[in-house]
Amino acid sequence: MTDKKFTRRNFIKLLGGASVIGAGAVVAGCASEPTGGKGWMPNQYNVAAGWPVQVKGRVAIDRNNPSIERDDTKCILCGQCLEVCKNVVSVYGYYELPIKNDITCIHCGQCTLWCPTGAITERNDIAKVMEALSSPDKHVVIQTAPAVRVALGEEFNLPPGSIVQGKQVTALKKAGFDAVFDTSWSADLTIMEEASELIKRVTSGEHLPHFTSCCPGWVKFSEYFYADLQPHLSSCKSPQQMLGAVAKTYYAQEKGLTPEQIFSVAVMPCTAKKFECQRPEMNAAGVQCGNPAIRDVDVVLTTRELATILKANGIDLNRLEDTAYDSVLGESTGAGVIFGATGGVTEAAVRTAYYLSTKQEPPAELLQWDNVRGLKGVKEASVTIPSVGMLKVAVCHGLRDARVVLDKVRSNQSDWHFIEFMACPGGCIGGGGQPRTSLPPSDDVRKARIANLYKLDGTAVKRASYQNKEVMDLYQKVLHAPLSEHAESLLHTHYVDRSHQLNVKL
């Protein structure tokens, strides 16, 4: 035993002393520093409270938004999503506050292209497709949009706009899809219907100008902000939904399948297509077979998601040979392919409208209609069609520019017969589901993609929709004629008035 034992008394003294020191510190209010404030904020926010901050915040995204989602852990509040939503798409800031019971969104997905950190992305539907592919009793069909073939290559290190049409089909076959169809085929089908509808309107003088309806972002925009102009909208479904409806009816019959057996996938340059395929009325095949729960298109993937699937499967686009699309929904013409570029729908529609009115091939001018091509915000052109007269058209892309045209129509100051609207700058090639090849999206990339779509058109043997034999076969076997009763039930739709869901800023 040592002299200095650690006794209970010493221990209690020690504790008592520590308590007294602690209590003293507390009473004195000593502390190193308060909690919080150890992080960072983007520089624009670090200014005195009285100063304005020009670019700030972010867009609101509904948790149930079918098209886009956001990972908050990646968001840095740079404000770029708001910037594009307000100044390019003209949705944010164009409604009064307070909001009603909807977070106004047209699902165009431009914010996914502008977001520098990739916080906002398309809603990921890859798992649903993988599940269908692994299901032995599902016949999985996939359609690819015109704009995908000039953008997918960028995800595999190819220059912007590289044409990978054939390689893409091979890749999809390797990935396990049972049939690969071309949305350009149904673009031709859309043109057959829409050109017929245009001629009908021009001759009757009703509901002019005729508005295109193949861009679901634009359609929802019009339902929100210009619901009063709804009669002007073409009743034609978009090519995606037409192909979906035909795949589960006509194709199913041809193959001896039931609509329930077919799982229909679409690869689109677009996030609004994810919203469109979920619209309640997009179940024509289901209604026809007595099971309205069946969707015409089950899942929409973006170009980016397709690239993810291919990479996950170890499929390198660069090492693949070309393959042709599958019959009976695989033939396309140049007119169908240029749907992916701003002005393309107009050019394709007028080529066929010319033929349907005159029974003559359209003149060379309409096979390269420069007035409706290019990246000018609003393009105007006119053409004289024998027996119809002067047809005046306008083309808008990026909905902020569209407002100028729409306001003219609303105030009866327009003399156009046909107006094409695309939500995304450049048209579908600049869609919200396309590869993020430049950030923010640049006109250089858009131009490269557009140039190659026109190249595909220019080198195509068939340049107009009425020349598409597989489309004509469909009419011959099933639909009989454009705008027939059967065609109306399968290929045409109606729209919703959403103007009550927001207070539009006047």
Binding site: A31, G36, G37, G39, A49, V59, L77, L82, P98, N101
Partner: protein, 277 residues
């Protein structure tokens, strides 16, 4: 001059910028299980501010969505700071009620005391702290607005002197009859630095009504103010009595020893503590 923030519920679109700003500035983790935006948004140790979405009917009977930002209300006379005996919660002159983790003993009295149920505890940590919004005290010390206020794209929040904001809020209520005729936070529990105006009743947004206008600390202050005096006085009294008793014993022992003729100082001081049982 106490600062404050005026929140206009009618301008909120539910983007959640404020919640992200809070996480960024305070280096807070994201909680995978507890969202900070939406119907299920809940304040917890990681979520210092949340935006709660509610579906309700407005005065016209229309079904509407409203978003209520929740965070510490920064009471003018905070119950949490009053309940904290270790001074871990302190009220700054600029209005912020701030938390000093070094002083906290983890008793969680503040959680019981807070009428708004704001302070949260880091239950999952080995050395837990209390957590809550600090009103970005380090930012407002530099004249900057709190992070959440700075990032709001629609101008839901305004940061200024509290009294100015109250005046402005009343002007808004006068000018626009859509607003409820109360400024939430002006009088609740004696007033809070965060003030709210809304076009739908506050209780439908999850705000506590019927809190009264009396600061909670005032209920306890009348008797709790005597605690230090009583505690110290009691200590002094007992110490004095102890010395008195010991001295009497010693004197008595000395007298006894004198009578017995022996030395009464044989036992060591530590006898009672020397051996273990």
């Amino acid at each position: 001059m106490s600062k404050g923030v005026l929140v206009d519920i009618t301008k909120c679109i539910g983007c959640g910028s404020c919640t992200v700003a809070c996480k960024m500035w305070n280096k807070l983790e994201y909680d995978n299980k507890v969202p900070s935006i939406g119907e299920d948004a809940t304040l917890n140790d990681k979520n210092w501010t949340v935006v709660v979405q509610s579906s309700l009917n407005n005065a016209k009977g229309e079904s509407v969505w409203r978003f209520a930002k929740q965070q510490c209300m920064h009471c003018v006379d905070p119950a949490c700071a009053s309940a904290c005996f270790s001074r871990a919660l302190q009220k700054n002159a600029d209005g912020a009620v701030v938390y000093y983790p070094d002083l906290c003993v983890g008793c969680r009295y503040c959680m019981i005391a807070c009428p708004f149920d704001v302070p949260k505890y880091e239950w999952s940590k080995a050395a837990p702290q209390i957590t809550k919004c600090q009103m970005c005290s380090s930012r407002i010390a530099k004249g900057e607005a709190p992070a959440c206020v700075a990032v709001c794209p629609t101008g839901v929040m305004k940061f200024a002197d509290r009294q100015e904001l109250i005046n402005e809020a009343h002007l808004m209520l006068k000018r626009d009859d859509r607003y409820m005729k109360t400024v939430y936070g002006e009088h609740e529990v004696g007033g809070t630095c965060w003030l709210y105006v809304s076009d739908v009743p506050f209780d439908q947004l999850g705000f506590k009504s019927k809190l009264g206008s009396v600061p909670l600390p005032s209920y306890t202050h009348s008797f709790l103010k005597n605690v230090p005096v009583i505690a110290l006085g009691w200590g002094v009294l007992l110490t004095g009595m102890s010395f008195y008793a010991r001295r009497r014993n010693e004197i008595a022992k000395a007298k006894q020893a004198k009578r017995n003729g022996t030395d009464g100082n044989q036992q060591g001081e530590d006898d009672d503590f020397d051996e273990e049982d």
